[in-house]
Amino acid sequence: MSTALVTDLTIFVLALLVGVEVIGKVPATLHTPLMSAANSIHGIVLVGALLIGVTADNAVGYILAFVAAFFAAANVVGGYVVTGRMLKMFRRKTVPPQPAPEAPVGTVGASDRDRPAANGRPA
């Protein structure tokens, strides 16, 4: 057994323990985004695909490299985007469709939100 392999196994076991510790604290409310985030993290295999794929020099190699890069990129990009999309929906308060009641009178009210501001840019 080489030193490199022993190091690799050590890292694997320690990372596993860190994972158990960190993930055990995630509330059930967030389990779907958690799984989706974990999904995007295993998209790191894209790095593996890149490192390996560059040695391709024949048709079989090119095909394998292409498929691996495709799979891994779909995983990483899709995973992060969909996790972000889900987490954006978790709000502390309901977003009121009508003007926010706590908006102070006299300042820019919530009803101005959809109109361009005086400077011409969307508020």
């Binding site: 990372a15 490192l51 779909a74 992060y80 889900m86």
Partner: protein, 471 residues
Amino acid sequence: MTSFAAVIQLIYVLAAACFVIGLHLMNSPATARRGNQVSTAGMVVAVVATLVLLIHDGTVTAAGWIVLICGALAGSAFGLYSARTVQMTAMPQLVSMFNAVGGGAAALVGIYDYIHVEGLPGGVLGTTTVATLLDAIIGGVTLSGSIVAAGKLQGVITGQPVIFRGSRLINIALGVVIIGTAAFMLGTASLPALLVVVLASLAFGVMMVLPIGGADMPVVISLLNAFTGTAVAMAGIVIGNWALIVAGALVGASGGILTKLMADAMNRSLANIIIGGFGTGDSVVAAAGPGGDVQVKSIQADDAAIQLAYASKVVIVPGYGLAAAQAQHAVAELASLLEERGIEVSYAIHPVAGRMPGHMNVLLAEANVPYPQLKEMEEINPEFARTDVSLVIGANDVTNPAARRAGTAISGMPILDVDQSRSVIVIKRSMASGYAGIDNELYTDTKTSMYFADAKTALADLTAAVKTLVG
């Protein structure tokens, strides 16, 4: 190790740290978005460092670049499109597909490495053969198994357990082929043997998921997630990359924890699930049906509306029936109407509500329900005693008090203590029993009223009735 390679390696460590911090920030909905951003940053850093390394080495051919860039761009476009357009109800399918591609990519990295570095006839045996084999086996099982799982969730493949004569025998045969060939490869480098292992693993993945019933999907997805992580970690060991090892281990831990949680919440042991007790609960369903002597109290929208409108604390218990009827927006509308009257409304979410861990929370969050109202089982159970009305929508077994007694199909299963609230309204289409195939004692409780209707229609009628009532 040159100093350049050392710097790259340290950058991978940085990326791994970002993943850990990102996951850590997911311990609260308030910081979770930042967590995802930290994790994304780690990923970007790792990929850029890899590209810099490749350019620095200068070993890549023009054709190699073109293949990799085209593959990555096409994959990114596909991933981006599906992530942007997916319905929240279809999230389990998407996660399953990401499991599939992740596992597939990990297996390909291992196979590719084997072909190039160690696998040619008469070639040298590598020190990482065990990792390569584990990578190919786990990755293969994950790829095909996740595709079948996604097909079941999407309804392309029947959600009923597919069991045929001799399937157990085929599984054993495949297992023997995989283990036997793998053992042979420990002594002899052989590419054809690796292909046999991969094909047998792919077949095993299909055979493993086919007999699983739709209700067991939260466990299956979690398990396949853990598999993907492990496959990626093995790929990391094969190519000696720490970022892959750490990321894979983190995902493996996450999937493993969720698998355990889901299995516990469904009252099944992990061993029972892996050895193939999947979906066995379905066969009992036929024994159920409306019992002859059960007396249930039926209720209509108007009376239910009165109960709700004059309560001071209402707990909504959503189950998969709610998601299946796409009624999450309707329930949120009713809830906000009640809140406007000063009624305290919260949601009791059982761990297995939905088709994947935490699925119901995402569906309700999409319907604009603020997350502080979403209560986990441990949090809400003590509150039922001071709840005026519990509104159960499309949830069944997880509310059955029979779970507290020994000797029933769901004995010991953690349940929501809905029966402790002062009154209960159950919206359900019929008296049909749930997945466990037993009668729900909650429905025959004297303080329970049954509202027989489709969840969406019922909620719309209820909302209208409450509006009329309070004018």
